[in-house]
Structures are given as C-alpha cells and as structure tokens.
C-alpha cells in the first residue's frame, strides 16, 4: 500500500432526507496520525456525516474509502478499521466495564486475544481498577472513557468521536481530549472529532468547518484564523456561520438547514 493512502477519504458525499439536503457534496481527507476537528453549528450536517461514516446509511452520491478500501462496497472491511464513540451513551449500564468490552470484543471476533487487551487498555485510559464496576455506578466522564476504550479495542485505524464531550465537565473533556491526542501521536490513529465547541477545535491538527451541508473552510487552526482575517478561531467561526442581519454568508439563502 502506498504511504499516501489516507485513512479516511470522502469524495463529494451527498445525502438528503426527503426535501432536506443534509450534505451537499462533502469531501474530506484524513491522514494517519491526524487529529481533525469537525466544527459546525447544530444542524450543519455533522451527525449525518457520522451516520454515513459509521455505515448506518449510505450516501445518495459520492464515495467513502477507509484505508483505501471502498466503504460502500465492502462495509465490513471498513467497519473493522473503525472505532466509534457515539454522541448518545451506548453502554450496557447493568453490565460491568469489562463485560461491556467483552461484548464488543465478541462482536468484532477478537477471541481470547481481544479479551486479553481489555485490562491494559482500561489502564491506559485511566480506569485500571474499574474493570469490575457496574457501568451504572460510573460518572459521566468515566463512562465516556469506557466507550473510548471499547472503540479502541479492535485497534482501529480511524476513530470517530461524535460530540463525545457533550455533557462532560471541563476536566473530563480535557482528559478525554488529551488521551485521544496521545493516541494520534503515539499510534498513528486518525481521528475525526465532531464538536460545536471552538476551544476543542483549536487544539486539533486541522479544522474542518461544516455549515448547511457544505465545507466552508479547512486547514490548521492558524490557517483558518489567518484566512478569515479575524483575531481568533471563535471569531472566525462566528463570522462564517452566523448571518449578519439577514444575509447568509455561509450558504445560499434559499437552502434549508439540514
């Protein structure tokens, strides 16, 4: 495989829900080890993009490849290389931390080797002594860490974090972010981190701004700020996505918000 094969490549993805155009030709490329923040206001199409990337739906048009493999033709190959932390909690709360991870290991067919990875992985995310705890007894931040460990269990090449910090306190947010950034650096994990929080996007390698189903801009945080002529990313983001007095600079006025 050529070293230039991106971990994720999306080309001109289009998805409509009836009249509502959720994505109108979105392209994206994430390399191994890259931390990409997907920034967009509510309704920008972030969730739709995640639904396509996690294989829940297929796009109406366009292509998605994970590690060079066509995700639409062979979804199971892509899914094996994909770790997802959903916005909604998806832990079995009546099961122990280890039990949840074992269930996931079985779904991925990891066998005894996968079960052996659980304890070190829990230690890595800072839950080394929580393996036997029932998930219901964990704090929100720790539940998210369990979900992160679960998403990493099958050693994915690409990690999707769908507004994973929603509802977490600032400290848990920072910890979670630091963990994931460490994985990018040390293990070459590619990350797509959806958020509507500008300060999270500031810490990313690259920022991708999605608005009304289209890409507004993409680049390093510094580049995005420089291109906008604003002083900060927050200012740049607001300038791009909030219409000043009636006009809609981000998209054509007749477009419906997805």
């Amino acid at each position: 495989m050529a070293s230039s094969t991106p971990t994720l490549e999306v080309r001109d993805a289009v998805k409509s829900y009836g009249e509502v155009k959720a994505l109108q030709g979105v392209s994206m490329r994430i390399e191994a080890g890259q931390f990409m923040a997907l920034l967009g206001p509510n309704g920008a199409g972030k969730s739709t993009l995640f639904q396509l990337l996690s294989g829940l739906f297929v796009p109406d048009a366009g292509a998605i490849a994970i590690c060079g493999e066509d995700f639409l033709k062979k979804p199971t190959i892509g899914l094996a290389k994909l770790g997802v932390v959903f916005q909604q909690p998806t832990l079995d709360l009546d099961l122990s931390v280890t039990g949840n991870l074992r269930f996931h290991a079985a779904l991925h067919g990891l066998g005894a080797e996968g079960r052996a990875r659980i304890a070190p992985l829990l230690a890595q995310v800072g839950l080394g002594d929580a393996g036997d705890k029932i998930c219901r007894t964990l704090s929100g931040g720790n539940r998210r860490k369990v979900e992160l460990a679960r998403a990493l269990l099958h050693r994915p090449a690409l990690l999707l974090m769908d507004e994973a910090t929603v509802g977490l306190d600032p400290q848990s947010r920072t910890t979670l972010m630091a963990l994931v950034k460490g994985l990018c650096r040390d293990q070459g994990l590619a990350v797509l981190w959806a958020t509507h929080l500008v300060n999270e996007a500031e810490a990313a390698d690259r920022v991708y701004v999605l608005h009304k189903g289209r890409k507004l801009t993409e680049g390093t945080p510094t580049e995005v700020v420089a291109a906008s002529g604003c002083a900060s990313l927050e200012e740049a983001f607001l300038k791009m996505t909030v219409p000043p007095a009636g006009a809609a600079p981000g998209g054509k006025p007749e477009e419906k918000a997805a």
Partner: protein, 268 residues
Amino acid sequence: MKLGHALEALWAISSRELRKFIQQRSRLLSALVRPSLWLVVFAAGFRNVFGVAVIEPYTSFVEYQVYVAPGLLGMVCLFNGIQSSLAMVYDREMGMMRLLLTAPLARAYLLACKLVAGTLLSLVQCYAFLGVCALFGVDLPWIGWLYALPALLLGGLMLGALGLLLSVYIKQIENFASTMNFVIFPMFFMSSALYPLWKLKESGADWLFYVSSINPFTHSVELTRFAMYGQLNVESLAVVAGTLVVFFAWAAYGYDPQRGMVKKRAQA
C-alpha cells in the same frame, strides 16, 4: 465473514439477551402468568362449554386444557417475539442498535443473531409454561416435550421474525400498545389456539374461518399440536417455514442501509 467470528458474535448477542431476561424477573413471571391464567381460569370455565370433538392429531376426546395448551405455547412465542421487537425499538432510540450495527458483520447476519437470541427466550418461557401445565395436571405426553422442540423453535423464529419486521415500521416505543391491539390480539383470536377452526365454520362465520386458516399463527400452533404426538403436519410446516423466510427477508430489507432504517428524521 469467518465462522469463528460469526459464532462468537452469535454467542455474545444470545447470552446478552438471556442475561437481561434473567435480570428482569418480572418478565418471566408475566410471561408465565398470562398463559397460566388462560389455562387455569379460562379453560376451567369453558371446558364444558366447548366440547372438543375427536380431531386430528387426537385419537380420543381430550380435555379442553389439553387442546388449548399448544395454543398457549404459541401465545408465549407470539408475545415474546413482539416484545423482542419492542426491545429493538428501544435499543434503536437509545443508540445500542447503532453500536451493534458497527460490528464488522453482514447486517442480515446481525439481525439473524437478534432473532435467534429472542427465540431462545421464547423456548425458555415455553418450557417453563410446560412445567406449569404439568403442575396443573394437564395430560400432555411427556415425550411430546421433546417432539415439540423443533416445532416451537420454528414457530418462535417465525413470530420473532414478525416482531423484527414490525420493529422496522414501529417508529417509537409509544406505538407499541397499538401493535398489541392490531397484531397480537387478532392473530391470537383468529387462530386455532382456543378452538378448532371447524367450530368457526359451524357457526357460519365463513370469513373468520378463512382468515384463521391462512393465519400463520394457526399453523405454528398446529405444528406444535401435531408434534406433541410425534406427528408432522406438513402443511403447517410449509406455511411456518415460508412465512419465516418472507418475514425475515422483508425485515432485512427494511434494515438495509440503502433503504434507511431509522425514519429519516431531519437533524435538530
């Protein structure tokens, strides 16, 4: 898809369902109370009202309780099949379903795992109910417990597949009550579970007789009734197997990402 992986996933999904079922003790209780009430109260009240003539597979007059037992086993499978679909709708709203669908396995296979897991619960409940029947002295042949197993399995799969299909179309948990009214009760009453179909014909309710005789639930009950006495009802076997294939294929189609599973809701 590797066989080892497929079996590992099937085991994980089945044992998860079983564990959840064991944790909810009230579910087993209500699964048993429902048919037991029919067996004890309804059957006691009506045993003299309904004189059941000698019909196949019986070789002599049978007590009404003996007649109704296979129908009540069917009821157990019917309720559990639909209840499993309720769990699917719940999982879908709670996001668990999305997690399941990111497993690197064919989607139809994951649905089949869900179906098998739900059917195992049906079987557990059926045998618990057979225990209740024995406790109340219902005269069922002991060897029938064994003979009935494949019939209950197939019937359970068919009714579970029906539940799976309904879960594609039930958008919200709240719609479940109407499913009870529009699916469970008509299926149960318009069948041979409570009375032999010739009774309907004799009463002059020809259309009811017709509907009941094509009701797949009737055939799952008859399959069990015949199996209890070591006999194979070929017609019922064909109907149950055929509807199982249709219901499952239809449900798998509904869960196909090309068509879209969750109702296409606009993003908030």
